[in-house]
């Protein structure tokens, strides 16, 4: 069922932030969203899980349907069982003292049995390879570990769709690589992944489709190899992956090469 968006418009006050967005995301896709700062990426993510229009009021029009549920007619928590959103700053999401409690929080609110909660907590800890953090205190974790705990607390609720808002902005190369390995893994198991990211190299490597958001509208939408080769990209202010920069340079000098195979996993 995926995501279906029709004529989505949103403004916090007067200035329109999202302008007439139409978009479909299929089940099992791995989608990357890029766009300059302030283009509306986070706002878009908040529209997907119902925080807009339920918690953040503003001028909202259009329809967003997630796994067949229109966000206007379902509560944020009901949508959360279909779509999990991991916010940008891990420090402002974690509130429990221990990692275990943090991950169990959503599950307890779902009204699950104690044993089922235990099983699921252990399950995600295993999947993210952070079993050793289970009893740790959350404030003492590194940024990378906090990021994973945030992911775990959302993953534990087992949503079909996972939206991540710049999940690697605080991570180094190794941490980023690990996050993408996990995402690819989840994707292979059937989860739909939507990731907002500045590090284009990683999207080129892992995503099936790239959406480019510019001033509230998706101006480009296509395969990574097409979108990242699009000449408009630089004007919008988005970095071109290294491989394609080299490719372009070689082309200018009369050498025809195809670097796509080089960069895809």
């Amino acid at each position: 069922m995926g995501i279906k968006i029709r004529n989505l418009n949103f403004a916090y006050s007067e200035t329109p932030i999202l302008r007439n967005i139409n978009l479909d995301v299929n089940d099992g896709e791995f989608v990357g969203i890029v766009g300059p700062t302030g283009s509306g990426k986070t706002t878009f993510a908040l529209c997907l899980n119902g925080i807009i229009p339920h918690l953040i009021k503003g001028k909202f029009s259009g329809d967003v349907e997630v796994s067949g549920k229109n966000t206007k007619s379902f509560e944020v928590f009901d949508l959360a069982k279909s779509i999990g959103l991991i916010f940008q700053d891990p420090d402002s999401q974690i509130f429990s003292i221990t990692v275990e409690d943090e991950i169990a929080f959503g599950l307890e609110n779902m009204g699950l049995e104690k044993n089922e909660i235990k099983r699921r907590v252990d399950g995600v800890l295993n999947a993210l390879k952070i079993k050793d953090l289970k009893e740790k205190e959350t404030f003492a974790l590194s940024q990378g570990q906090k990021q994973k705990v945030c992911m775990a607390s959302v993953l534990a609720m087992d949503p079909e769709i996972l939206v991540l808002d710049e999940p690697t902005s605080q991570l180094d190369f190794r941490g980023t690589k690990e996050v993408y390995r996990i995402l690819k893994d989840m994707n292979k198991k059937g989860k739909t992944i939507i990731v907002i990211e500045h590090k284009v190299e990683w999207l080129l490597k892992y995503a099936d489709r790239i959406l480019v958001l510019d001033r509230g509208n998706f101006v480009l939408n296509g395969k990574p190899s097409e979108v990242f080769r699009n000449p408009k990209l630089e004007k919008i202010g988005i970095e071109i992956p290294k491989a394609f920069r080299i490719e372009k340079f070689l082309k200018k000098s009369g050498i025809k090469v195809d670097f796509e195979k080089l960069v895809r996993v």
Binding site: F77, G84, F87, I97, D101, G106, N109, M110, F139
Partner: protein, 242 residues
């Protein structure tokens, strides 16, 4: 900080409502009778130690409380309006003033130990749950998460001070008083931002929707503590106040 400390003491196993009852009964806000306050203080201290809590756990707070109490005793000694008995002739320190300052300090320490017993032996989600019984859920949430943000706040304050100092802000000199403005403003902006994000994050995880109740079950031990606290309180009240 008053963060939950794992353990197997009697109070760790109590229903959080029992602990709230204990906490409120030891507040003794209405009296300045020294004997009464001392008894409640000793009682609270006894419970504190009996549950294997140590002074180490409240170190940060006690330093502040001790300094504050000393100042309080001195201040009241000088300025207590109903003081009659001068301790040194010609010197305006009264016995009643010192006694009054001492009483208030006792009460402060009782609150400190009592709060420590509650916070150190109760998991955050249990605090949240029982607070939620008599406070609006958002307020209960703010209260229980405030403590969680203290270490992050400390960290951020340091970062902000370093960044402001590196841009030439001086801690010493004539502008010293205004030093903290450029520190406080970003700190508050960040705190507001963070509170907003946290609200969104917990909403998506169904905050306030809990169907499972974990801890709310009054057992024999709970009733014994409630009854014991009640009897002790009434007894002290009867002995020293009436």
């Amino acid at each position: 900080m008053l963060r939950y400390k794992d353990g197997r003491s009697l109070f760790h196993k109590l229903d959080s409502r029992t602990k709230f009852f204990f906490f409120f009964s030891t507040l003794s806000l209405f009296s300045t009778n020294i004997l009464y306050l001392s008894s409640i203080f000793v009682f609270t201290l006894f419970v504190f130690l009996a549950n294997r809590l140590s002074f180490q756990d409240i170190k940060g707070f006690s330093k502040f409380f001790i300094i504050f109490s000393i100042l309080l005793v001195i201040f009241q000694g000088f300025f207590y309006p109903f003081g009659k008995t001068h301790l040194l002739s010609g010197f305006p320190i009264t016995f009643e003033g010192i006694a009054f300052g001492f009483a208030i300090s006792l009460r402060l320490f009782t609150i400190l130990f009592s709060l420590a017993i509650l916070m150190l032996t109760t998991k955050q989600k249990h605090l949240l749950e029982s607070l939620g019984n008599f406070l609006p859920k958002d307020l209960a949430f703010s209260l229980t998460t405030a403590f969680r943000f203290i270490p992050i706040f400390e960290e951020e304050t340091k970062t902000i001070i370093i960044s402001q100092e590196s841009r030439g802000l001086k801690k010493r000199g004539p502008r010293r008083l205004t030093f903290y403005f450029p520190v406080i403003v970003p700190l508050f902006t960040k705190a507001l931002e963070r509170a907003k994000n946290l609200a969104m994050s917990v909403e998506t995880r169904g905050f306030g929707k809990a169907k499972t109740r974990y801890n709310l079950k009054m057992k024999t031990n709970d009733w014994i503590i409630v009854l014991g606290t009640l009897i002790f309180g009434v007894l002290c009240f009867w002995l020293f106040i009436i």
